[in-house]
Symmetry: C2
Subunit: 394 residues, 2 copies
């Protein structure tokens, strides 16, 4: 497993990061282009806040954890300045998207814009401790907590009272964000919040009959027999499991580490396409046709997140099943998504693993899952004990 570390580091630093350095910076209006075709050409100039925040985070993190390269810090500042100047409405909520010049296009209906902006400013503050970065990160985080019970606010189309569902995405992102914001928040807030989130993800959204995590449940955690209640997103479960595993390792909670690994393995088994390989994007837990027409497609991020999850699972327990899955995921992912010819990775394949959209970035894919995943695997496996996995068992 240790040998993978070098490969992932090399891919991160020699292929993926240079691609974004070269193609994504908007020198004219600030911020980042993310709609990049196979060759890196910009095919659309809109700026999506999720991806502005994520790229800001990425370059801050690399500067913090990999090497103090001035060009990385400059990229992070470049993203943060654009977000600071154009990203928020008068109440401090982050818009969903802006045009190239920074004028708002889509209202702040989506709380994940705020999550990824907070993540970006939080990480940048670590390496460039300007008060305003800390202020924006803290205020935004507080705003997320305030909006937590009704994140879509007035943009919610659900009629209240008939079928009030709880959605898994926000606690899942908060499990990661609370660790990312650790240096900026009260220790007691982090403690109580992470405890609450673990309980929510592993208690409320966990579905004992299948051993999986549901995307939407009734308020009391019970199963909702409707499209939203039946949908399973294997990649989402697996990503959440490494977030929770990080919290568990930090707490020294071995039992929780093991639970996250079992659920991740369940999701891999359940989500894997036995015919063509790769993880399905969505499935219906009762085997009915899912609502999502893209259900059978293979997306980059579930596979990258699964690699991270299995690397961490192996490092924490030496569990052979995790090693086997890592090998299988590695072969599939590198063969299917990586673009040998023009750099970076494709994002969207059809069920047969043929490229469906020949883009390197778009509305949802930016400088995030691929480089974060490469970094996580490289760091996780860097010091793993070869042939002595028992040594790193918790």
């Amino acid at each position: 497993m240790k040998q993978y570390s070098t490969l992932y580091k090399q891919e991160l630093l020699e292929n993926v990061i240079p691609f974004w350095m070269k193609h994504s910076k908007d020198e004219k209006h600030g911020g980042f282009f993310t709609c990049l075709d196979q060759f890196g050409n910009v095919f659309d100039t809109d700026k999506f806040i999720w991806l502005q925040g994520r790229e800001t985070w990425m370059f801050s993190m690399l500067y913090d954890k990999v090497e103090q390269k001035q060009e990385w810090l400059d990229m992070a500042v470049h993203g943060a300045d654009f977000l600071k100047k154009h990203g928020r409405d008068a109440e401090g909520n982050f818009y969903f998207s802006l045009n190239q010049q920074g004028q708002p296009l889509v209202q702040p209906y989506n709380i994940f814009s705020d999550c990824f902006a907070a993540m970006g400013f939080g990480a940048l503050y670590k390496v460039n401790p300007k008060d305003e970065y800390a202020d924006i990160a803290r205020t935004t985080f507080q705003n997320i907590l305030n909006r937590r019970e009704n994140p879509k606010g007035k943009y919610s189309k659900a009629y209240p009272g008939t079928r009030d569902l709880r959605n898994f995405s926000l606690p899942m992102i908060l499990s990661n964000l609370s660790l990312e914001m650790e240096h900026l928040l009260d220790k007691s807030l982090i403690e109580s919040l992470s405890q609450e989130i673990i309980q929510e993800v592993m208690g409320v959204f966990f579905h004992p009959e299948s051993g999986l995590i549901l995307e939407n449940v009734y308020q009391d955690g019970s199963f909702a027999d409707c499209f939203e209640g039946r949908v399973i997103n294997p990649g989402h479960i697996i990503e959440a499991m490494w977030f929770i595993m990080d919290l568990a390792v930090r707490k020294g909670d071995q039992a929780l580490v093991k639970r996250t690994i079992e659920i991740a393995l369940n999701a891999l088994e359940y989500g894997w396409d036995k015919e063509f390989g790769g993880l399905f994007y969505f499935k219906d837990i009762n085997g009915f046709p899912p609502q999502q027409l893209e259900w059978d497609q293979k997306l980059w991020w579930p596979h990258v997140e699964a690699l991270v999850c299995m690397a961490k699972a192996y490092a924490a327990t030496g569990d052979e099943r995790c090693q086997k899955w890592f090998d299988k995921l590695h072969d599939y992912t590198w063969n299917s998504f990586r673009d040998e010819q023009y750099g970076e990775w494709f994002g969207y394949l059809n069920r047969r693993n043929e490229v469906l959209l020949p883009l390197k970035g778009g509305k949802w894919k930016g400088c995030f899952h691929v480089p974060r995943g490469l970094y996580q695997v490289y760091k996780t496996l860097e010091n793993v004990e070869v042939n002595q996995p028992e040594l790193v068992k918790l």
Copy 2:
């Protein structure tokens, strides 16, 4: 071409309509089930207003135009009663969806719920002239016109002023709805409205460089170089062209008939998958990756609408190109979508024309496009002059 008429009539009356008669009626709570699996079993009980209105329309229309079967009238009344009782909020806007019992699930953010409800009540009034049906149809139609400039109202997520786009869907549906509502509305309103709609569809949304119709344009009709502005929906264009052709035939406007046919033929050429056959769901007019992950899928409705459009085009002009396209579409559509074994038609195929979702109805597919299309083709070709297409030329 005339021979097709019998086949389409038979498919309508012996396969498709019996399927919905048998499986879609909710005897317990009223309204219709539309989430039906391959065999006709209900897999989800939510009631989507689009499909409640459309099925009400379908059975009313069949009773009006095909045969005065009591069971068809009963189905229409069954749908209308449910819509009347549960469909609207206090302001008379139709919700998007209800649960099985009729309690609102999703708010009235979508004006097409109102369009299809008005269409259903309007058609039912023709065959069952109760004042309340006319009232609901008229009031709802007026409400649609009032909401026309800002159909999503408070649920719109677009930030006003940055990139105000006009969307093609509402004028397109109104071109059909205004004819469907003819018996209930002022003649002068219909005249001015249809004139306005023709101008909007054929003027504002028409894109001269490609000969196609755009889904979204700037307020002045100019091209918007963004995802929404670049997207082409070939099936949508072709469906709109038969709506406008109906208006043109009614006005005796031969030049307009010919323009609709040229645009429909452009859309067929442009949308056809040269490798696997069938019409793509979405394309980007500049050849960039579209936003819609389902872009390369083959959906039932564009093909059914294309059959209707080519049948009408042939009947109106005898144009051989339309006959050739009809033959080609017929072979492809009947071979790919029709389920010989369990009745009705599949709705969603992947690019290779394999069944992607083995359902007969769902959130968007109900008792509508297939039976309406079969009816339209059967009626259109019933009296077409064999071997003498010149005779029916305008």
